[in-house]
């Protein structure tokens, strides 16, 4: 996935003279994940900019740039290091268009590598998507594979409003999926059915899609046809596809890495019971991270949603 992101960024820089990249160590070093490797050499250090260690400062600066017509794409180095920029994102970026009565927007993309499963130190495995999706004026998008990463990143750069683009870093070097030579912009609000099935829907996003797919395989062995819906858009949710899945399968399990309380899985569950209560054959069950700090890495596999945990929930939903 990290290559796809690098390629999409190169495409944006080549196509849009106003686009530029900013962040810590993204220049000659190519970013700690190498997402921007080679881009400074190719586009120059006015387009691919190393910043001081000051997330509020450079996210705030990106807001100012976007106000005057540039199209900054900001890399936050790791999950938790977005917190110092929280005020700029939620009290400033998300409110700009509203402060212009809808007239002007901030074409601003924040790239945020996130999530666990990479044996990383403390605060390098957070999943803060619910925070941003709760705060008005921000879109939150999470791809799950190289192709969707490229397409959604392209779409994010064209959306005209701030997008928190979260990259499940556990997927950065997963496999080596074929991606199209040139990306075209994806649909920023659309979930994707990544596996068809009529008995049950597993809703997931980011690295959890892989887990859901593996669980679906095992369910198939049991004769249960599980649909896997990759949310992709965390704000707004793809309501139509969620309701369709509920109606088609009547049983839904939502998988998320983040802590449970006030997370995205709860939002999905609340929405489905509100709007598809008649169609539900079982409660929407949540398989989530725990309401505790993401554990140090020796315990991460036990704390992360896993195939057995998804299976347990899926079977409970089927048995309901």
């Amino acid at each position: 996935m990290v290559e796809a992101i690098g390629r999409a960024l190169a495409q944006v820089l080549a196509d849009d003279a106003d686009a530029l990249l900013m962040g810590e160590d993204i220049g000659v070093n190519g970013g700690v994940f190498r997402a921007t490797a080679g881009l400074q050499q190719r586009f120059g250090d006015d387009r691919v900019i190393d910043t001081p260690l000051a997330e509020a400062g450079f996210v705030g600066a990106a807001i100012g740039m976007a106000m005057v017509g540039l199209h900054p794409i900001v890399e936050i180095q790791f999950d938790a290091f977005v917190y110092p920029a929280f005020q700029q994102l939620v009290a400033q970026a998300g409110r700009f268009r509203w402060r212009t009565q809808g007239k002007y927007g901030l074409p601003l993309v924040i790239r945020l590598p996130y999530g666990g499963g990479t044996r990383a130190p403390e605060l390098h495995s957070d999943s803060p998507e619910a925070l941003f999706s709760h705060m008005p004026g921000l879109r939150v998008v999470i791809p799950s594979d190289p192709q969707s990463a490229g397409e959604l990143l392209l779409a994010a750069t064209r959306c005209g409003d701030p997008v928190i683009f979260m990259e499940p870093k556990r997927m950065y070097r997963r496999g080596r999926q074929e991606v199209f030579a040139e990306f075209s912009a994806g649909d920023l609000e659309a979930a994707a059915i990544v596996r068809q099935g009529g008995d049950l829907t597993l809703v997931a996003y980011g690295a959890m899609v892989e887990v859901a797919l593996a669980a679906a395989d095992e369910l198939a062995a049991d004769g249960v046809a599980a649909r896997v819906l990759d949310l992709r858009s965390i704000y707004p949710l793809d309501r139509d596809q969620l309701l369709a899945a509920a109606r088609d399968t009547g049983r839904v399990v939502v998988v998320q890495e983040a802590p449970r309380h006030c997370g995205v899985a709860g939002e999905v569950a609340a929405l489905l019971q509100e709007e598809a209560a008649d169609a539900m054959l079982a409660p929407t069950l949540r398989v989530t991270g725990m309401d505790m700090p993401f554990p140090l890495f020796q315990s991460e596999d036990q704390a992360l949603p896993s195939v057995p945990r998804v299976l347990a929930a899926a079977r409970a939903a089927m048995d309901y």
Binding site: G57, Q92, R99, G160, P236
Partner: protein
């Protein structure tokens, strides 16, 4: 007095106007009479009047806003009484293509760029018509969270530099704002990338009830510039001519590629923090009396008349016109129709997502759909 005809106010006891507190602050009005007259006469034709006129307009706006607040027409309002000089100078010292990044305290600077006064008044009336046209005036929406506007100005200015556009950005703030992390990150970044930006910090010695000595051990805020490797200059915030000069110098340096400047406009908050604030609870009203003569409009008027740059009647005329205009604006303030919540919801995103579409704003949302609820 310096060779260029401007001076530095002498060190007199702290606390008092023009005291040690103002030490090192650039002044024009504090010059000897002859030098002052000479300075004013040497200004580009019409500038003194334009500055005076801008100040008058700002004063009229502020007075009207306070009255409207007392009448219950608008909500809490942060008066800027006493800051008319530095604010007027900040707009006139720049070009129209330069960007401004105001806070709650510079509500009306956009009106010096020909935005109708009704607009910022509406903001304090809690009406979205109060958001001015950002692109048209090149003035950012006011920032309420202290210091958050500094990085915006840096980014905008940096953008101007990257695209060689030649304009500069100016961000406003107060003494309290210099304690905030965003001030620091912005200053540091601006210096590193040599962004053409001016940090105009009005040190009025108070952040609500917090005096500058509880805010920082370096009350001469201009000295903080040294930490970033940028020039820091002090100026008397009540002195429109000195402010004009200092800001123009900073802007020229920025345009020439000389990077950012920290301008400390030092003075005193002559009024309360805002209409909900009662300063006598936390500061000695006698200090207010000491500072009252620094009130900038009267001083400017006296100097302009003294220099023979304008006749008293001309100034009076300008003043009455401004006050009349604002009275009229205030009278019509209730007239603008309020957009519906549905319209507000439609102004948050370019492509309004479904949770903000009219049919889903109220709950139970399915009850408002044409179709019957899913379970019926």
């Amino acid at each position: 007095m310096r060779a260029d005809g401007t001076g530095t106010s002498p060190a007199v006891p702290a606390g008092a106007p023009g005291g040690a507190l103002m030490g090192g602050a650039r002044t024009v009005l504090g010059l000897g009479r002859e030098d002052r007259r000479e300075h004013l006469r040497g200004l580009p034709s019409g500038l003194a009047i334009r500055l005076y006129s801008a100040m008058t307009h700002l004063r009229a706006f502020d007075e009207r806003a306070v009255i409207l607040q007392r009448q219950g027409v608008i909500g809490t309002y942060p008066t800027y009484f006493g800051e008319e000089a530095v604010q007027a100078a900040s707009v006139l010292a720049l070009e129209d293509r330069d960007w401004l990044f105001p806070t709650y305290r510079q509500t009306a600077v956009v009106t010096l760029r020909d935005c109708p006064s009704v607009v910022p008044l509406l903001l304090w009336r809690g009406h979205p018509g109060g958001w001015h046209d950002v692109m048209r005036y090149r003035v950012a929406p006011i920032c309420i969270p202290v210091a958050t506007n500094y990085p915006h100005a840096v980014g905008a200015a940096w953008g101007a530099r990257l695209r060689h556009e030649g304009w500069v950005a100016l961000a406003y703030g107060g003494d309290g704002s210099t304690s905030a992390g965003d001030f620091h990150e912005a200053c540091n970044l601006a210096a590193v990338v040599q962004a053409p930006v001016i940090f105009l910090v009005t040190n009025n010695q108070w952040a609500i009830s917090t005096p500058i000595v509880k805010q920082t051990r370096v009350p001469r805020l201009a000295e903080k510039a040294a930490a970033y490797g940028m020039p820091g200059v002090r100026v008397d915030s009540f002195d429109v001519f000195a402010c004009y000069e200092v800001i123009q110098e900073a802007a020229e340096r920025a345009r020439r590629g000389g990077g950012p400047t920290l301008v400390e406009a030092v003075g005193y908050r002559l009024g309360p923090h805002g209409t909900a604030d009662e300063p006598s609870v936390y500061r000695d009203p006698r200090a207010d009396l000491l500072w009252a003569p620094m009130e900038p409009l009267g001083r400017t008027e006296a100097a302009v008349v003294e220099a023979g740059v304008a006749a008293p009647e001309q100034l009076l005329e300008l003043r009455s016109r401004a006050f009349q205009e604002l009275r009229d604006v205030g009278d019509r303030l209730g007239e603008l129709p309020l957009p519906s919540v549905e319209e507000l919801a439609d102004s948050v995103h370019r492509d309004t997502p479904w949770p903000l579409r009219p049919e889903r704003l109220y709950e139970p949302s399915w009850a408002r759909l044409e179709q019957t609820p899913p379970w019926s």
